[in-house]
Every structure is written in structure tokens, then in C-alpha cells.
């Protein structure tokens, strides 16, 4: 049966609505999985699982190209079947994945966890496979409308993704996953009505199957799917094991699920950095967890002032109290900025200064609302609100929009355990540029205070120190070492970066503070070896030696050190990446006596994921060639393999290679640009999640419009391809040079305005980037219609490889390099197309 004749005669209507719906649901499913696995496991794991699961697109393309002649006979049945299976497996496979016993933390110890990981990957690939099948089958079936179909696919994905992010503000990811399955089943009902006259097999069975799926989903799935089971090693899972402890409230947001835990029997004691010498009691607290990680605390407000002062006495005994001993207390006034809401820290500043005003920047509005609304009475917000202003935005954006000068800017890095699972998470708060911004907003006697949990051997605290030193160097501050002071306790360190040189009097105050609390001095101008390593003794004073080395010769020391402690920058904002390949063998050799703690899993896992994606790609992409080779071989044999056939084979090979590379390069280039822009915009749009939502949706919607627009060039795709890629290259070059300046112009505007600016900046690039793929497909339809599904598969595999590779390249060389590579890749695609 000729597929062209099928399209023209006796053809069902193009299922535009279903393609739109399934594409939207597939992206929604991807976003939901990211959220769900961040809650169940950790961020880096979620990222890796999703990146590989998308290989389902590649597998789909390959299978369809091999058996497309058979599939086309039953297009209507197969389309609806794939949609149904996508609906059912999206919930079912997630549920099954949850039943697999897997622990990220144990992966280094037990090989069976690798097997469990492979099973999770395989399960999550299934729904993407079915969704991709539905789309690819339609593209093959209606290949003369491929550009419009691709446009519909992109638009659906864009709108589906955006809607999901908005819905995540109100609903749990688990319940949304269930709703997604039901929605896709509803789409199936619509498609069934549209296709019912075109079935080759009796359609009532499909109707029956559809209804059964609906019923089963409705009756059985909700209680399992909505039930999220975080691993037992998450901080929240452990906290609720305390007698009587319970999650009192849970708030949903795409930035993370916020859980508030109350423990009425065993008091919560969330006091990072408390001195071992402290005898002070700790007031009642409630714990706040984000995606099950944390906790941070909300302290109970004690009404009586005398009792309150007693209850808060412990706040004197934290390493994070050290800046208060440095600041000038004569005028009794303090104007500070706190990056990230930390209720005890707010109380701390009030304890030391009678008159303190604090700006708190907390990007997750839900956390701010805990203090100002939900737990306002518990936390005594009424007594705080005249002095504290909470801003729901990123610190960098806030500083750009305000002209305030501060006595202190305080921030805190993640704990060492959490940090080891966040190596792939960009964070713009701890970059050299961020520190410069903080430094400029200090009053003449002001300080930046950074609290860091201690990792041994030292890592996080040294990276913060290196960042501060780099910043001081870039600001041309004379004798930078006089502006730095660092102390450490048994589990936390505190770094002070002062606008003015730290005086001897201030150093003496800190010495007294440290001695009374068994804290150690790490560095101050003029420090000697006998000043350090007294209370929390290490076999050698590593912190002191490293600080001295960083000050004396930073590049050499960073290069030689066994962890990556080079300062993060806005172009490479991976602050929590400490992994170095050169140290891996040594760490693994000591795995059984402490070495395991030295390996951050995120980064090596990313490399493993890339290797797997490449391996799958190399296996999957050539598969259709074997079936094609058989056909060519048959022709050759029947023609006696004369010279003409040999020449045909040669040309065929060259064209096949060009198809392969063209679609691979276009897929690679698209994702390189998208990932680089998402990461760059994360600073402009306050948060990586907001950036991902806005940029991905903008890219998909505008690329969809571009794809729809290029239908009119269907007759002359070659010219249009060259032109569109040339424009892509020009626009990317403009973006590369001028985007930073444009973003700087608007960074002080409100978020809605910035979202519009970001979308408008993305629009022209995305519009033309949406063209090369459908134009390539149009060209393919003219000459080799049977390769359409293969091109789809190649593009899918390229998207997986490029998502991981772009992150890896950004970690090593920055986003600028990723964008430059994208320009080169697009240029190579144009050359590849022109050659044949």
C-alpha cells in the first residue's frame, strides 16, 4: 500500500488537536517528573533521569522508519493506541519507578543500584516513546504537512509546559500527573470520534480499551500516583520519624514543595554553627523543608522581653555571629541585607542592634509568606514587620533595582551533604560578579558575611574565600588580605569581607569571641600559625595553610588542589561543583575508608549519562540503515550490480550521511542555544526554574510559529534552509555580544516586565531556529519520504545528547563557549545541507 496514495485518498483528517495535546502533555510530563524526582531523590538525579528518558523519542523514530509501511496501514488505530498508552504509562511507569528500591547515596557502594537505575531509566523512557510515536506516525502519514505538524508539536509543547509551571503553584505534582493521564485519555476520546470511520480493525475494541483505561485510571490510580514516597534518607523523611512529629502544612510551587514540620515531643534544634561551649537553651522551633531537604527554622516568638532575650541567648554562640562583633555598635543602628530567609538570623541582628532594619530577599514567595501570613503569630511577625522588608526576588535583581547601602550583607551556602548533590545546579549568588555587586553596596565600614558548613578536607569555605579574593583583586582593592577574616567552628565556618581594612581592634574582638566559644581563627591579616588550630584541631592546620596559599598564589594553588575551588562566575555559575577528574582515582582507592565522602556524585553521573546517551545514539541511529541496505542490496543483485548501481549506492551513502549529520546538527544546535539561554536568563529572571519555564516555552512557541511560517517555502526548501541558518548565525552572534548589555538595562524592572523582555529577546532567534528542521523534512519528503521518521529519531537523540553535553560544556568552559559552539554547529549544518 503506497503511503502517498493513502494520504491523498481515503484520508482521515489531520489530528491537529491531538498532536497539540500530546506534545503539550509530553513536556508537562517531563516537568512533572523533574519536580517529582527532586522531591523523591535529589535535584541532580532528577535532571539526569529526565535527560536520558527522552531517548524514547530516538527509539520511536528508529522503530517507525523500519516498519513504517506496516504501520501506515493501521495509522488510525496505532495513533490512538499510542496516545492511550502514553496516557496510561505516564502515571503507571512513574508509580512502578517508585516501587524500585533505589538510593542515589548507595550507588557508590552497591552495583545492584546501577541495575535499579537502569530499570528506572527504561521505565521512564516508555511514556516518551509512545508520545513520540504518536507524533512521528502522524508526520509520516501526513508528510506533506510536516512543517505545520512540527509547528503544532512545538506550540503544544510550549503551551503545555507553561501551563504546567503555572499549575504547579496550586497543585501537587502527583495530582497533576494523574490529571495529565486523564487529560490525554480525553484527547483519545476526541480522536476516536474523529478517526472512527477510518479504522482498518474493528474500532469498538478501541473504544472499549479506551473506556477500560479510563475506568481503571479513575478507580485505581489516584491513591498510588498521588502518593509520593521520598527516599528514607531525605531530611524530611527522617524528621517525621521523631515521636509525634508531623508535616503540619505543605505548600506547592514550581520552585519546590515547602513543608512545615512540627515536633511536639522532641524539640527541634536547628542551630547550624552552635558552639560546643554553649550552654544556652534553644527556643521552640518549627522546621521548614524544601523538596524534603533542609531544614531551616522558624523560632517561636516569646512575648516577655526578658524571657525572649534568654531564649535567644544561643544566637550569641554561633559562628555566624562574628560580623556583629566587627560592626560599629556606637550608633546602635544596623541596615542589613539577608540573602535567603533565615528567621533565626533576623532575630540575631535584632539581638545585637536595638535599631535594625533588614531587607530579606527570598526568591520563593511561599517561604516569605510563612513568616508574614501562615506562621505570623507563631513567629511574632507583628513585632518584626516594622523593621523587616521581605522581597520575593533574587538578590542580584533586587540590588540592581535598589540604591540602598548596607552595613552588612549576609548569605549562607548549602550544607556539605546537600552541596554534594547540587553540582549541576547553577547558583548566581556565589559568583565573583555577585560578590562585586555586594561589595559595591556596602557602607564604608560594611561587611559581607558568608556562613558555610564545613566539609573536610576543606572545599566550600575555600571556594568562598577564593571568590572573595578574586573579587577584591578585580576591584583593585589594595592589600586584599586586610579585608578578609575567617573563623571556623566544628561544623561551620564564617568568612568576613570588609569594605574597609579590618583593624587590630576588630581582630582582637574576634579573638575574644572565638576563644570564649571554642571557635578557631583561620585567617586575618597578620595571622601566624600559632594563632590557629587550637580548639577543633586537625592533624595539620589545613584551613589556615590553604587560606595563606590562596592569598599568596591563587592560580597555582587552585590548579594543584584536589578539589575544584576556582571561583564560580556568571558564565560558569556552578558553585557546588568540587569534582576534579585528576583526583578521582585517589578518591576511589580510598573509597572504603572515607574516600567515598570526597566524590560529588552529580558531575561524574552527568558524564556517565552523556556516555550512555552517546552509546544509545550510536546504536539507534544507524539501525534503519541496515534495513535500507538490504533493499539496495536486492536492487544491486537483480541488476547484476553494474556501474550505474554502484554509482547509485555511492551517492545514496553520501546522501544518507548528509541526512544523518544535518538533522543531528540541527537538533544539537537547537538545544545548545536553548540550554545556554536558559542558564544566562536564570539571573535575569531570578530563578533557574522561572527561566526554564519562560525560555523553554518562548523557544517552543516562537519556533512553532517559525515552523508554521516556513510552510510557504516548502517548494524551495534548500534556499530557505540556507537563509534561515544564516539568519540564526547572525542573530546568535548579535545575542552573544549584546544580550548582556540589553539585560543589564532592564534588570531593575519588575518580574513581569523582565519575562516580557526575555520572551521578546528569544522570539526572533527561536522563530528562525524553528525553520531548519521542518524545512529539512520538507526537502526529505520530496526525495526520500521514508526517512522522515528517521530524521525525527535523529533529532530526538541529538536533543538528549546536546542537553547533557551543553551542561557539561558550560561547567567547564561557560555559556559563552556553548553559544559559540551552537553558531559553529548551525554553520556546519548549512554546509552539510549545501554539499548534497
Amino acid at each position: 500500500l503506497n503511503s502517498n496514495s493513502l494520504e491523498e485518498n481515503d484520508s482521515p483528517a489531520v489530528p491537529w488537536f491531538a498532536i497539540f495535546g500530546v506534545s503539550g502533555a509530553a513536556l508537562a510530563f517531563e516537568i512533572l517528573l523533574l519536580r517529582l524526582f527532586a522531591m523523591i531523590q535529589w535535584h541532580d538525579f532528577a535532571y539526569l533521569v529526565i535527560s536520558l528518558a527522552l531517548l524514547g523519542h530516538g527509539i520511536s523514530g528508529v522503530i517507525i522508519v523500519v516498519w513504517q509501511r506496516h504501520f501506515m496501514k493501521y495509522y488510525c488505530e496505532l495513533f490512538i493506541l499510542n496516545c492511550m498508552l502514553f496516557a496510561v504509562t505516564s502515571s503507571a511507569c512513574f508509580w512502578l519507578a517508585q516501587t524500585i528500591e533505589f538510593n542515589t547515596l548507595e550507588i557508590i557502594w552497591q552495583r545492584s543500584h546501577w541495575w535499579a537505575l537502569a530499570k528506572i531509566y527504561a521505565l521512564l523512557t516508555v511514556p516518551f516513546f509512545f508520545a513520540a510515536n504518536a507524533i512521528a506516525l502522524t508526520m509520516v502519514r501526513f508528510k506533506h504537512r510536516v512543517a505545520a505538524l512540527y509547528a503544532c508539536d512545538l506550540l503544544g509543547a510550549g503551551i503545555g509546559g507553561l501551563s504546567t509551571v503555572v499549575l504547579l503553584y496550586s497543585f501537587s505534582p502527583g495530582s497533576l500527573l494523574f490529571s495529565l493521564s486523564i487529560s490525554v485519555l480525553m484527547v483519545c476520546v476526541y480522536v476516536e470520534l474523529q478517526f472512527s470511520a477510518h479504522y482498518v480493525i474493528v474500532h469498538r475494541w478501541l473504544i472499549l480499551g479506551l473506556l477500560c483505561s479510563l475506568v481503571i485510571s479513575l478507580v485505581y490510580v489516584p491513591k498510588h500516583v498521588s502518593d509520593i514516597k521520598p527516599v528514607s534518607f531525605k531530611a524530611l523523611s527522617k524528621a517525621i520519624l521523631l515521636p509525634g512529629a508531623k508535616v503540619e502544612n505543605q505548600y506547592y510551587s514550581p520552585l519546590g514543595v515547602v513543608s512545615v514540620v512540627e515536633s511536639p515531643v522532641v524539640p527541634l534544634r536547628i542551630v547550624p554553627g552552635l558552639s560546643l561551649a554553649s550552654t544556652a537553651s534553644i527556643p521552640p522551633q518549627k522546621a521548614i523543608f524544601i523538596d524534603g531537604d533542609g531544614p531551616t527554622a522558624i523560632n517561636k516568638f516569646i512575648r516577655s522581653e526578658q524571657n525572649r532575650n534568654t531564649a535567644n541567648r544561643y544566637l550569641h554562640d554561633l559562628t555566624s555571629s562574628v560580623p556583629y562583633y566587627l560592626l560599629n555598635k556606637e550608633n546602635r543602628k544596623l541596615n542589613s541585607l539577608q540573602v535567603g530567609l533565615d528567621h533565626p538570623a533576623l532575630l540575631q541582628s535584632q539581638l545585637f542592634f536595638e535599631d535594625s532594619t533588614i531587607d530579606v530577599v527570598e526568591v520563593n514567595a511561599r517561604i516569605g509568606e510563612l513568616l508574614t501570613k501562615d506562621y505570623a503569630e507563631y513567629a511574632g511577625w507583628a513585632s518584626l514587620n516594622n523593621r523587616i522588608r521581605i522581597h520575593s526576588e533574587d538578590a542580584r535583581g533586587f540590588l540592581s533595582s535598589s540604591s540602598e547601602q548596607y552595613d552588612m550583607i549576609a548569605l549562607r551556602t548549602a550544607g556539605s551533604f546537600q552541596a554534594s548533590l547540587s553540582a549541576l545546579k547553577p547558583d548566581f549568588r556565589y559568583t565573583v560578579e555577585a560578590f562585586s555587586q555586594y561589595f559595591h553596596r556596602l557602607k564604608p565600614q560594611g561587611v559581607i558575611a558568608v556562613a558555610t558548613p564545613i566539609a573536610l578536607p576543606p572545599r566550600t569555605s575555600l571556594k568562598v574565600l577564593a571568590t572573595a579574593l578574586q573579587m577584591l583583586q578585580e576591584q583593585a582593592v589594595a592589600d586584599a588580605s586586610r579585608h578578609i577574616l575567617m573563623i571556623r567552628g566544628w561544623k561551620t565556618a564564617a568568612l568576613i569581607v570588609s569594605k574597609s581594612p579590618i583593624t587590630d581592634q576588630q581582630i582582637n574582638k574576634v579573638k575574644i569571641f572565638c576563644k570564649a566559644r571554642w571557635f578557631d581563627l583561620v585567617y586575618f591579616s597578620g595571622v601566624e600559625r600559632n594563632n590557629v588550630n587550637h580548639f577543633n584541631r586537625l592533624s595539620s592546620p589545613d584551613f589556615y595553610l590553604a587560606a595563606i596559599s590562596l592569598i599568596e598564589d591563587m592560580p597555582h594553588f587552585i590548579n594543584q588542589y584536589k578539589f575544584m575551588i576556582a571561583p564560580a562566575t556568571d558564565d560558569q555559575p556552578y558553585f557546588y561543583r568540587f569534582f576534579k577528574w585528576s583526583s578521582l582515582n585517589e578518591f576511589l582507592a580510598f573509597r572504603e575508608f572515607g574516600g567515598a565522602a570526597l566524590i560529588d556524585q552529580g558531575y561524574p553521573m552527568l558524564v556517565i549519562a552523556l556516555a550512555l546517551a552517546l552509546a544509545f545514539t550510536l546504536i539507534l541511529i544507524p539501525l534503519p540503515l541496515f534495513s535500507q541496505k538490504e533493499k539496495v542490496g536486492e536492487v544491486g543483485r537483480s541488476a547484476g550490480k553494474n556501474q550505474t548501481v554502484v554509482a547509485q549506492e555511492y551517492t545514496e551513502k553520501k546522501i544518507t550521511r548528509s541526512i544523518l549529520f544535518y538533522f543531528f546538527l540541527v537538533g544539537l544546535g537547537f538545544m545548545f542555544v536553548e540550554i545556554a539561554v536558559i542558564q544566562r536568563m536564570a539571573l535575569f529572571l531570578d530563578h533557574a526554574v522561572i527561566s526554564a519555564a519562560v525560555i523553554i516555552s518562548s523557544f517552543l512557541i516562537f519556533a512553532g510559529l517559525g515552523s508554521y511560517h516556513c510552510r510557504r517555502y516548502g517548494a524551495r526548501p534548500a534556499v530557505a534552509i540556507r537563509l534561515s541558518i544564516t539568519i540564526v548565525v547572525i542573530l546568535l552572534s548579535i545575542y552573544l555580544f549584546f544580550a548582556g548589555s540589553v539585560l543589564a538595562l532592564f534588570i531593575d524592572r519588575n518580574l513581569v516586565f523582565r519575562v516580557l523582555v526575555a520572551a521578546l529577546m528569544v522570539a526572533p532567534i527561536a522563530f528562525v531556529m524553528g525553520m531548519p528542521f521542518p524545512l529539512g523534512l520538507s526537502a526529505l519528503v520530496m526525495q526520500r519520504g521514508y526517512w522522515v521518521a528517521w530524521a525525527w529519531g535523529i533529532n530526538g537523540c541529538a536533543s538528549v545528547v546536546s542537553t547533557i553535553a551543553a551542561t557539561l560544556l558550560a561547567i567547564h568552559w561557560g555559556f559563552t563557549v556553548v553559544l559559540i559552539l551552537a553558531i559553529l554547529i548551525y554553520s556546519a549544518a548549512a554546509i552539510m545541507f549545501s554539499r548534497h
Binding site: 547515596l105 561551649a277 590553604a546 594553588f557 572504603e592
Partner: protein, 257 residues
């Protein structure tokens, strides 16, 4: 539905249930048989030999090239496999931590040896352990000291450990379910304290409950990775010295000095 059909359905269900039960029993028997086939004493001996090698490899950091031989002898006799969940038994003598449920782990044997060695146990000592977990650390200590007092906040864990102590004859281990923050005031002071569940805070009452000349050991790090060990020493005058010990033979600094 007719009565006949209903009884047929019930019959099928019963047969299915029976088959599942038989299959489960069969698998249990196979698994138990495979466990019985394991030579536990030999596995213990191998484990102790590995710890001995680890001690030599980490000598420069732990300050000695071998652990107290008494500790290793005890570890060669305590049936670690009785302290881990059934499915983890085959791995019980691997030098690695194992999950025991409730977000807790049984420490890897090398860390148990190191922690025990750090507190320098004597036969007359009374030791407090905060965080009973599986009970393995307490069992090792019980053969080295006069009495072990162990506290666990998670009731089911404490109950399981208690049953093990009774079953295996560790009669000088006294366990209770309580908040370890407050220590065990009625029995204090202690010659040594081991805190296996420190979290972000080392409870000040524990330092007070340590005898002059006493030692307290605390592992710091994630559930499967001990980053470093803290040794709190209280001298005869009651002054405190804290040492932070890396369990690994690792020299992080290769810089300019």
C-alpha cells in the same frame, strides 16, 4: 452473580493465595539455605583482616598503624549479620555501610573499629551511646567495657536492637527509647560517649556527662559517607580538646608551602 460463580471465584482466589504462599516459602527456604551456606566466621575473619589493612593504609591520619587488637578480636566474634536486615545479610561483612531502615545505616566496619579505638575502651568503663541504630556498635562495645547504655529515638529500631541484645546475650547493654540530647542523667558521668546520630548539633549535656579524662567520638557526614570523626577529650581538669580526624589517607594540600 450466581452463587456457583461466586464460589468458583473464591476457590480460584484461594488457590492463587496458596500458590503465592508456597512460592514465597520456597524462595525463603532457598534464600535461607544460601545464607546457611555462607561461612560467617570466615567472612568475619576476612573483614577484620581488611580493617587491619585499612588501619595500616591510614596510619598517618589516625595517628597509629594498628587498632587495639582487643577491638579487632571482638569484631571477629560479634555476628554482624545478625544486625542487618535479612536481605542485606550476604553483604554484612563487606567493608561498607548498609541501610537498616528508617533512614539509618549500620556503620561500615572500618569506621566502627576506628570509633571504638578512638574512645580507648577499658574493661571497667561505662559507656554511653547516642543512636542505637542496629545495635552493632553497642554489641562491639559490650565485649570491651563493663556496661553500655544506649539511647535511640526511633522506637522500632530500639525495640529490634533490644531483641538482638537479649537473643545474642549482650546482657551488659542497657537500651532505652529517648531523646539522646539529654544523655542518660541517672547513670552519668560516663567514661566514654559515642554519638552516632549527631545531626547538626553536639548536645552540650553530653559534654557535661563525660568524666574528666573521658572521650567522646562523633562521626560527621552523610548517611553513607563519614566525612570526618570528632574526638572530644575532657582532661583531668575538665578542659575540653576537640580533634577532627579524617578517616582517609588523603593529603588535600599540594600548594605553595
Amino acid at each position: 452473580m450466581k452463587r456457583g460463580e461466586s464460589s468458583v471465584g473464591q476457590g480460584e482466589q484461594l488457590i492463587r493465595l496458596l500458590l503465592w504462599t508456597l512460592l514465597t516459602l520456597y524462595l525463603q527456604v532457598i534464600y535461607s539455605a544460601s545464607l546457611h551456606a555462607l561461612d560467617w566466621p570466615q567472612l568475619r575473619k576476612d573483614m577484620v583482616n581488611e580493617i587491619r589493612q585499612n588501619a595500616i593504609a591510614t596510619a598517618s591520619h589516625i595517628g597509629k598503624s594498628q587498632f587495639d587488637p582487643r577491638i579487632l578480636d571482638v569484631m571477629a566474634s560479634v555476628p554482624r549479620h545478625q544486625f542487618v536486615p535479612v536481605l542485606r545479610k550476604p553483604f554484612a561483612y563487606y567493608n561498607r555501610p548498609l541501610p537498616i531502615g528508617y533512614g539509618q545505616t549500620i556503620s561500615q566496619p572500618y569506621i566502627v573499629a576506628l570509633m571504638t579505638d578512638l574512645i580507648e575502651p577499658k574493661s571497667s568503663d561505662v559507656v554511653l551511646e547516642v543512636g542505637t541504630g542496629s545495635g552493632y556498635q553497642a554489641a562491639v562495645l559490650s565485649r570491651l567495657v563493663k556496661a553500655v547504655y544506649t539511647i535511640e529515638i526511633i522506637s522500632p529500631l530500639s525495640q529490634q536492637a533490644n531483641e538482638r541484645f537479649a537473643q545474642l546475650g549482650y546482657s551488659n547493654v542497657h537500651a532505652k527509647v529517648a531523646d539522646g540530647f539529654h544523655g542518660w542523667e541517672e547513670i552519668a558521668p560516663f567514661d566514654s560517649i559515642i554519638v552516632t546520630a549527631a545531626g547538626g548539633l553536639i548536645p552540650p549535656p553530653l559534654i557535661r556527662q563525660l568524666k574528666p579524662g573521658g572521650r567522646m567520638a562523633i562521626p560527621v557526614g552523610g548517611p553513607f559517607t563519614v566525612q570526618h570523626l570528632m574526638l572530644v577529650e575532657k582532661d583531668k581538669e575538665g578542659e575540653i580538646v576537640i580533634r577532627q580526624i579524617l578517616p582517609v589517607r588523603f593529603v588535600p594540600l599540594t600548594g605553595v608551602h
